[in-house]
Every structure is written in C-alpha cells, then in structure tokens.
Amino acid sequence: MLFKRKEFLQISSLATASLMLPKFLKAFDGKTIVPPGNKVLVVLQFSGGNDGLNTVIPVRNDIYYKARPKLGIEKAKALFLNDEVGINPALPVFKELFDDGSLGILNGVGYPNPDRSHFRSMDIWQSASDSDKYIYSGWLGRYLDAQCGGCGKPTQALEVDDVLSLALKGENNKGLAVKDPKRLYNTSYEKYFKEINTAHQNGEEPVVDYLYKTLSETLSSADYIFQQSKLHPTTQNYPATGLGKNLKTISSLILSDINTKVYYVSLGSFDTHVNQENQQKRLFTELNDAISAFVKDLKSNNRFEDVMLMTFSEFGRRVAQNASGGTDHGTANNMFLVGGGLKQKGLINPMVDLTDLNDGDLRHTIDFKNVYATILRKWLDADDKAILGKQCELMSFV
C-alpha cells in the first residue's frame, strides 16, 4: 500500500484545493480528511504524579488539613468552585472554565491494586491494562488499529514530542511523534531517504516492507504535517513556555484540514517529594497560561465545541504530607476535561472520601478505563470494546 511521494502530492494538493470549496462539499472529502466539525481529543499527561488533593481541594475537610498541616492550601487562598471545593490558586483559568461550563472534573480515578512505581503505573495508564497484566500496545495506538485497518496514516494520532509514547503505539499502526513540524520536515527532507524509499519494491521480505512502510509514512507525513501547520498560522498569543509552544502547534493543526483525531502532549515533572508548593505552582502557572491561550484560540475560531482536552497523571500523591515539604507516591487522582462539548460539567462525581483510606491512600471510585471507553465510544465514535479488550462502563460526561 506504499504511500509514495507522488500519490502524496496528489492528496496534499487535493487537501489544499479543498480549502477553496464551500463548506458543504468538504463533508464528502472522504474518511481520511477530517473536515471542521469532527471531534478531536487532546490528551495532556501530567508526568511524575500530580498531587490531585492540592489541585482540587476539599476546603472544608479537617482530615485534609490535619494530614497536611504545612502543605494544605488555605481555604482563603483556594478559588471556590462550591462551598466544599476549591481549585488551586495558580489555576484561575480553570475556575473561569468551571464557571463557563467548559470544565468537567472527575474525582478518585484509578485502578485496582495500584502500583506506585512511575514507569509501571504510567505503563498501566498508557496501555490501559489491568495492573497484573502486561500489554505492549497503547490504548490510542489500538484506537488507530481499530480505526484504520490499512489506512496507513500515522497522522491520525500525533504526539508533540521527539519520542513516541507507548500510548500511541498500536499492534499494527503507530502514531507519530513530532516536536516541531518544521524540524521534522527538515530532517526527513533528505533526498537520499526519499530516493531509497521510492526505489524500494515490496517483495519477499515482509518485515523489510514494514520498515519501508514506516519510512514512507514518515516522509509523507512530515510533508503533510508541515504543509498543514502553515495553512492557518494562529494569530493567538501563546506563552513562550514548553506547553505554550506545544499547544500552539496543536492548535495550528486543529485549525488546518489535517486528519488528526488525537493529540498527545506532556507536562512535568510533578514528582513533588520535596518543596512541592513552588514546583507545583510553577507547573500550574505554565498550564494555566497555556490553556488560557489555547481555549481563546479555539473559541475565536469556533472549534471549541469540537475539542476535548483530557488530563491525567500516573498516580496521585499520598494524603499526608512528608517531612520534606512534599508528598510521596499515592493512588487515585482527579482528571480534568476541558471543552465546549461536555454533557456533564463541573464536579461530575463526589470528592473522594478521606475517612475511608487504604493505608493512608485514596480508594479509587472510577476506573480510568471507563473514562477511556466513554471518550472512545461517545467522542471518537470508535469501538471501545475492541480497543480495551472488554466492555467497560460508559459514563455520561459526553
């Protein structure tokens, strides 16, 4: 099925031409090109284990303040969501989104028999496996498998990074890591690579063909992504931070005609064993300012309804503070959902019960796989059961 440069040129010129077509015609462009109106998922990974209890704060809970005499966030400083719950003072934009009905908060999300190792727990979240199983593919990679058997377009899922996460690696299809569309274009724009790719004939060695398929897709995707990223250069001002730049890249692609359904981006490190207050504040400020620009950008281009941003972290922190002004690895955590298309808004489920801890750790009330299933089925219109290997309970937030 090799997707050669020549064919690619045809497709990309088609894509460019389609810009000039009236909107109603675009719907007929075919499956691989996503016209405006199609749903997009942005996954934002908080790497290192974000402290959920100091993110969405139980401001009237004595147990919280008793467990965190130094680290607990004072009621007066928190931004109130309701009488019981406040949000971290470094996240004013999330308070605005909450008031605006564009924020959903899921509490107590986790999985049975939680693992406290970063790598293992991240593996579990990214592969969507049970904690006693090992799966070598990611949930979004398997979404690609289910979505496009043989469509051979890794651009359906993009990670804004140099290296691809397990989450985007399927059995047969893999997403593509692109930190900077221009740089990817430049590094892959090597005539030698293009020539050997064009000269390759699929033949008797299927595994060699597989590598050429990957090469071919990379080269054509690098072109495609770069061309698309230039179509609608955003006029929105983004902060000059890592996340600011990455969300700007994502926005420029969302506003283009690219076929991408899933974007993946990370922020960290949230591994706050020491001096948590400053570190979390710095990261939250970066998060707050970047999300502010991103939301404004999408709203002013009328795409906010089509985008759902989901945050997660490999685990939360322990309820009690430690002796170094920080917190150690814990279990269940909260997740943010940001977008204009939420059916349930605000606090979607109750805060976790601090009177019912498991050896000082929160008990999860929602399995994260239910969140994935809901997004796959109801937002991306995909076969959640095939992707997750079982029927998970569907929720109602979309």
Binding site: H118, P154, V163, K169, E205, L211, E217, S269, V274
Partner: protein
C-alpha cells in the same frame, strides 16, 4: 558454494551468536567454514568472565557499613536518597562498561547470550550492588547450565527484591515471585494453575536477602506445611519447587521457543523447536549444547532465517561500533540513544522484558536509527531529547536533564575499515561493501548509492558507502 554466500553465512552466525563482524575480520570471513568459525567463537567464550565492579567507593563503603535490613531502615531520608542517587549514577557506569564489553570482548557469544538472559530475567531495581551482582551471575552462567542459572537468579537479592519475595512470609504470602518464576522464567502462561501459584508461594516463604547482597533463608518465616504443586505433594521449599519446574518438559519447551525466536526466526517452527527442546531437556539444560545444535545445523543458514531480524537498539549501536572503530569523547551519549530508542540496560519496561521485533520501530525511532551512523561519525547533529525517567529522578528536577546534545565528538579509525578492502578491485568495491554491511536479500540500488557517495579518494569512497548503507531500513536487520 560461492564465496559471497559463505561470507553471508559467516556474517549471519556472527550477527546472531555475536554482535556482528569487526572490520579486521572481514577478509577472513570468505574462506573459513561456519563450523570452524563457530568453534572459534566457542573457544573465545570458554573462560569465566572477570566480574564487573563499578560501584563507586562512596557506595561501596556505605554498603559495607550496613549489616542488615534493620540498619537500613534506620538510615535517614537523606542517606537513602544519597544511596539511590549514587546507584543511578553507578548504573549508568555499569551500562557503559557492559556496552564496551559487548563491542570489544572476544567472548562475544557469552556477552550476546548474557544480553538474551538480561531480557529473560528482566529486573528493574535501582541498586547498583544488586544489579551488578545479577549481571555477573548471568555472565558467569550464560553458556552453562540453565538450571544453575535459574536457581542463582532466583536467589539473587535483585530478583527477590524486584519480585517482592522479601515480603513473602508464612501467614502472609506474597505470590508475585512464585507467579513470575513460572510465567516468565520457566513454564510460560497457561501451564500452571492459580493453585500452583499459591502453593509454590508458600514454598518460597522465607527466601530473602541481606543488604550485603547475600541470599538468606529465614526459617522463622518459612511455611513448613504440606504443599501440592504440579501434581506432587510434600513439605516443599523453594529449591524443591525449582527442581520440580526443571523436571517439567514444558520448561525446556518454553526456553527453547524463546531462544529460537530470538536467535533463529520470529516465526516458530514446531518440528525444529521440538527437536531442540527434547535435546535440551535430555542434556539437563546445557545451554552450550542447544546453541551448538542451532549454529551447526544446516537449517540455521537457510535464506529465510538470514537478515530478517530487527536489531534491538543495543545490537544496532554495538554492531556499528564493531564494524567501525569509534572513540566517543562522551560515551554517555550512548545512554541517550538507548533511551530514545527504547532499550535502557537495567531498565526493562516491565517484568516481561523488551518485547522486541516490530515493537522497536515507529516513525521517530526509525528516523533516529537511520541517522545514528552519521551522528556517531560526526556527520550529523543529534537533536533528539529523550523522555525523562521519573523513577531515577526521585523528584529532583535537573538530575537527568538531557543537555540537548548537538554535536557528538568522536574519533573514527577509518584506516582499520578501509584496510579491510585493500584487496578488493575498484569495480567490485561497492558490491563487496554492500555484502559486508547488509544481511538482507534486498540491497540498496547501486545507481542511487553512487549518487550519494563521495569519490574524491578510495578511502572516502569506502567510508561514505558504509555510512550510506548503514543509514537504511535494510541495515536495521541482522
């Protein structure tokens, strides 16, 4: 048999049993037979290896002062953190030391087989003492007896700690260790029951270690009651369980299947693996014997078994450095490659090890793999930033900060490489280099190659041809 076929077969043996040919071997590969070459390989690996010892004085002294777990628990937070941090640093050192051994050791078979067992007995603990000891155990036994290897690994503090057997006590059994010993080390999934897991976990109660890295059997924690395991009943202890596991033919089958997939072909061949497994079992798990069965067979050299295996990142890196002698100003850059390509020694992704095969390949990994030959030889910049590993950073930002390396400074001894082609006439040069560098049936179109190589001098021609050939999808295979 034409010379080129003989050379290809010898290279095949060198890529599978070892880490690929060195520049100075190339000329010898045309005439020697596979049997002769294999005998040389065996002979080179006959001696016991010198154990690695890279733990720094700081760590060494500290650990020797620690007599038991009780003392360890009394260490304050800063001391523990200091130890862990030092461990992370020393583990990098151990990683580079082993890489160097893979590149330059004569005992190629031993190091290659050790890399296989390193993945089979996957273990991820941040303790340089334990990891170094486990690696030394693996290297010592990698070509000897699987039963001995299994027993020693199972009694290593590294594995007992990683699989939580220190917490496996009478009344409070922890099944993790027992389960993985069966699922990953011996029988494979589906060849035992949950009841077998429970019962063997009871037998392993009491197995633990002290902090000097010594195995301890703690009788007061051992469950001395009757256990029924794989159809046998008795007052089994851990050693009995390992004996029973080795009595199972399934263990020989499972290990053989894995060896076949790793060293011969991803697609298992029922007839051959059964033949191999039977002989492996009859030999009492003699590892050298099963490898000899494979490498001296005719079928190992069948076309369908040659050039179809995707090199792991470590094999790729080591293979390049064996063919081209490269001295790196900062050997640590190799750790960045390992990280960006997904195979950091001593940090397997989980207890099941690295999955291998197509799992190594995605767009960014392939693009980096195709650039590595140029980056290592100073012809290209390195601008990839691998992901951080929070388990080794311990909440400290900046510990593992990758400096965003650009130019890698290296000295390449091209003379050693070009010399190997001294007797090749100009008109055969490109074909001969291509047959030396690539194991795949498909080769790069010479007309295209010709456009990209430099022809100023013969040396430059050889040099650029090798680099261009290494910068291809074909070179990812061995």
């Amino acid at each position: 048999m034409s010379t080129s076929t003989n050379q290809l077969k010898n290279q095949h043996l060198l890529w599978r049993a070892a880490f690929g040919p060195m520049a100075e071997n190339i000329n010898q590969l045309q005439d020697v037979s596979q049997k002769e070459l294999y005998d040389i390989l065996l002979k080179m690996s006959a001696k016991s290896p010198l154990p690695f010892n890279v733990a720094t004085n700081l760590f060494d002294g500290f650990m020797k002062g620690v007599q038991d777990i009780g003392r360890m628990q009394k260490l304050d937070k800063d001391e523990k953190k200091m130890l862990r941090k030092q461990s992370v640093e020393d583990l990098k050192n151990l990683n580079l030391t082993w890489l160097t051994e893979m590149i330059s050791s004569e005992a190629q078979m031993r190091e290659k087989m050790s890399l296989f067992w390193h993945g089979h007995f996957a273990c991820r603990v941040i303790n340089i003492y334990f990891q170094q000891q486990l690696l030394n155990t693996v290297r010592e036994n990698s070509l000897n007896n699987f039963g001995d290897l299994l027993r020693e690994v199972s009694k290593s503090p590294a594995m007992l700690s990683f699989l939580n057997n220190q917490q496996n006590k009478k009344q409070h059994p922890n099944e993790n260790f027992a389960r993985e010993v069966m699922e990953l080390f011996t029988l494979g999934r589906g060849n035992y029951t949950e009841e077998d897991v429970k019962e063997s976990a009871r037998a392993f109660t009491g197995w633990g270690f002290n902090l000097r890295g010594e195995f301890v059997d703690r009788p007061f924690l051992h469950d001395t009651g009757k256990k029924t395991f794989l159809g046998k009943t008795g007052n089994f202890n851990g050693d009995d369980i390992i004996d029973i596991l080795l009595e199972q033919k399934q263990t020989a089958k499972f290990i053989t299947g894995k060896i076949y997939r790793y060293f011969v072909n991803d697609t298992p061949d029922v007839e051959k693996t059964e033949w191999l497994a039977n002989r492996f079992y009859q030999s009492g798990y003699d590892i050298k014997k099963i490898l000899t069965d494979i490498y001296t067979s005719n079928w190992f050299y069948d076309g369908k078994n040659i050039g179809n295996r995707i090199k792991s990142p470590v094999e790729l890196l080591v293979g390049i450095r064996r063919l081209i002698p490269i001295e790196l100003d900062k050997p640590e850059v190799q750790l960045l490659f390992e990280r960006a390509l997904g195979q950091i020694l001593f940090y397997p992704p989980n207890v099941a090890g690295w999955p291998g095969g197509k799992n190594w390949i995605d767009s960014s990994a392939l693009m980096l793999r195709m650039r590595i030959p140029q980056i290592l030889t100073n012809a290209d910049d390195f601008v990839v930033k691998p992901k951080d590993d929070y388990d080794t950073m311990m909440g400290m930002e900046g510990v593992n900060k990758n400096p965003g390396l650009k130019q890698i400074n290296s000295t390449v001894d091209w003379n050693a490489v070009t010399k190997a082609f001294d007797n090749t006439p100009r008109e055969n040069l490109m074909r001969q280099i291509s047959n030396t560098v690539l194991q795949t049936k498909e080769k790069i179109n010479p007309t295209i190659l010709d456009k990209y190589v430099h022809k100023d001098t013969r040396d430059v021609y050889i040099k650029t041809t090798i680099i261009e050939l290494m910068s291809t999808p074909e070179y990812q295979f061995c």
